[in-house]
Symmetry: C2
């Protein structure tokens, strides 16, 4: 297999002509795309990185923005700044809608030619065909998502405060999080913490700590990717934070006043979605075979079978190593990006491509104040220790130094004061917002 | 006059009945409203503070959010948190649309009764009847405005970077700020600084420092509120920062590609508005006499003539002291709020109301890096010294301690590194934003 892969490579990858430099196009400025661009920094190639956003988002801390713990800018840096030192990389704001044989096509029709292409556009949330649920139960993938969730959560308490009808008040103080994966667990834990701590003394007619946070999971445990004992520990830690965990519970319907499940109705005005992801539509545009979640099944060099000059990395790739699928986590994407760069280098030198090896440095999932679970090497961590490790690692990996300081500060601050720094309800700008009551009702 | 005022007061202000506590309603959570609420903290009254927003906004630093220097949350705090220690104050999110004899009416129809009312809803920008300009040239009053301006300014560089047509590129690199008051001067100075410093090394096909920032002012000098020599110094400092100052220039028209003035056309894709303000519509709802800008002409106790239990304070009030109109600045609003509280206290005690005295502690206007002008006491300040003073004072006045630290840090950081911490282009949330190219074109 390796042999044939190499043959295919040598056959169809054009050798660089002296006339112009070899062109590498990278689509997506996430962990994978940035890693690939940086790895090519000193190679004789012209790199163009294309992203719909001007910023790289540090996804693992996004839930903190959604729960008023951090500012958007604390976890997002302009892609340009991150790549400033890479003189051979130019950054382009735009959305790729098509992949041709030797060029990508942007939404505005522009063609950008490539000799090698690296696709790293990740995944977005999936509503399993119920796209109408998105309006009722936003997911958490972008800064906009996070700000919308923050708006809805904070607004719920405001509305409850001014409502006289007790039933309605309770509905506004009920929060349902659908999906018990890492994001769902983080959201549920953080909302429970806001209610019981950050806002407890701020209201007069309601007691925020009477809010209910219900985490709904279809499987028989949360954090399915972890071992049963860690998952069980996570459930206990969630309940200690005041989260009601409902396992083996599937959502049949969502409306503006609650959720219908196989275990009955849950009344709640705020429903958040973290139940599933599907690959970015650009995966299909590679013409490759897709797995059930729409991920691109790549070869052992992370290239598209039959298109050796097109790599797919990160969450969008279905890559296998040691018989297992490489998990859709930051370290997988970063390793994939570096690997794709190594393969491009090999092609240019006429060497054989290396085979992708995934190194799992460990996994940690945070749950809330002093609560987390995880594995580092062979060591299982729980509670405060896991939580400490989680923060240390994530702050270390935060891309720019300034953010590291700010996040460390914000985090230490709320740890000491129980307060949250970003409790802002803002809405979409439109002329006259300053006199509209745009922020006084949820946009539904 | 004082005498009659007092008689009127005694006649129509109901003495507190034992049955219930005296009810004070404050509309607006700005500097004036907060000051009034805090001043009433230990009085035997029930205070309800109503605002459309959940947060108090530290207006003087808003231009820093608009120019990517600060995060929204750095300059905004939840009104609830600021008033947490005031047990007799309850905060209510809502928009007052009508003022009846003894009650205010919210947009949702709710009535909230008062014995004393304090109206402090401030001003918003005025387009002198050209409301269609607002879409083309946003003003700077709210967090939403600031984020929209930030989005347009940062996007302009992104679009210029990917444009091949040189004319169009230049249009995108031209920024027009209409109005040479404090806000206009701050915006123009900050944009020039971003272009020449923060982004200079981030682009490949454009040179951000080739951007032009044009400040258009109708009068014969900027900062009309200051003495001619300080205004002249401000103009020189602006030009040193690279801003083109066009005085005696009136805007006749604005379209998507530029501005028409009595001194000719200026091509620019980004136009910002800080040319004028008009009072919040709630001023008219008091039924009082209004001045040309729609401000409520109040008596020497800051009450509405003929409605002694209704006070108007802050930017919304046209108050006079020592033959001069009290300027629409934070210190005027704060002093007004404290004064209104003192009058309410006097009414309850059956004492005569104090007369409002405005104490001007000095004025400072910042222009940009190491550039500012101002007067403290009798001392005129220019340049670095004025700028230092400006920052010290504003950080001192920033409402909560956490923000003080963060702002001080962000500021010191960008002073040392020339970088800006919040260079995010985000757009309004809507389902599917994560796959829409919502951020790749200005919303026009």
């Amino acid at each position: 297999m390796t042999e044939t892969a190499i043959d295919a490579t040598m056959a169809s990858v054009p050798q660089p002509r002296r006339s112009r430099r070899h062109r590498v196009v990278i689509v997506g400025g996430g962990f994978g795309g940035l890693a690939a661009a940086k790895a090519l920094r000193d190679d004789p190639v012209d790199v163009t990185l294309i992203d719909r956003r001007n910023h790289h988002l540090f996804q693992p801390l996004l839930y903190q923005v959604a729960t008023a713990g951090l500012n958007p800018a604390d976890i997002a840096t302009p892609i340009r700044s991150s790549l400033r030192k890479c003189a051979n990389v130019s950054v382009r704001l735009g959305e790729v809608v098509r992949i041709d044989d030797r060029a990508v096509v942007l939404a505005d029709g522009t063609q950008i030619e490539f000799d090698h292409l690296v696709v790293a556009t990740g995944v977005r949330h999936s509503y399993f065909g119920h796209d109408d649920w998105e309006q009722l139960a936003p997911g958490l993938k972008s800064i906009e998502d996070a700000l919308e969730i923050r708006r809805r959560v904070l607004l719920a308490f405001e509305i409850a405060e001014r409502t006289d009808d007790p039933t309605e008040r309770d509905e506004h103080l009920n929060f349902v999080v659908v999906g018990g994966g890492p994001t769902g667990v983080e959201l549920a834990g953080a909302i429970a913490e806001i209610a019981t701590r950050a806002m407890s003394r701020d209201f007069r007619s309601i007691d925020p700590s009477s809010a209910r946070v219900i985490l709904v999971e279809g499987a028989d445990r949360v954090l399915g990717a972890y071992t049963p004992d860690l998952a069980e520990s996570a459930r206990r830690q969630l309940e200690r934070l005041g989260v009601e965990v409902r396992l083996d519970t599937l959502v049949d319907g969502i409306d503006e006043r609650g959720v219908d499940t196989n275990n009955g109705r849950i009344d709640a005005r705020t429903v958040l979605w973290s139940a599933g992801v599907q690959a970015s539509p650009l995966g299909a545009a590679t013409g490759a075979e897709l797995d059930r979640a729409g991920r691109v099944v790549v070869d052992e060099a992370l290239a598209v079978p039959g298109r050796p000059n097109v790599f797919v990395i990160g969450d969008l790739a279905h890559a296998r190593w040691g018989g297992e699928q490489v998990p859709g986590v930051a370290q997988g994407a970063i390793q994939g990006g570096t690997h794709a760069a190594a393969c491009i280098r090999a092609d240019l030198a006429g060497r054989a491509r290396p085979v992708f090896r995934y190194t799992n440095k460990g996994e940690l999932a945070t749950i809330g104040r002093s609560s987390a679970v995880g594995v580092i090497g062979k060591v299982k961590l729980r509670g405060w220790l896991a939580w400490m490790a989680w923060w240390m690692i994530h702050i270390l990996f935060l891309i720019n130094f300034r953010s590291r300081l700010v996040v460390l500060f914000s985090w230490a601050w709320s740890y000491v004061t129980f307060q949250r720094g970003s409790r802002l309800i803002t809405s979409a700008w439109r002329p006259g917002t300053d006199r509209a009551s745009g922020t006084s009702e949820p946009s539904r």
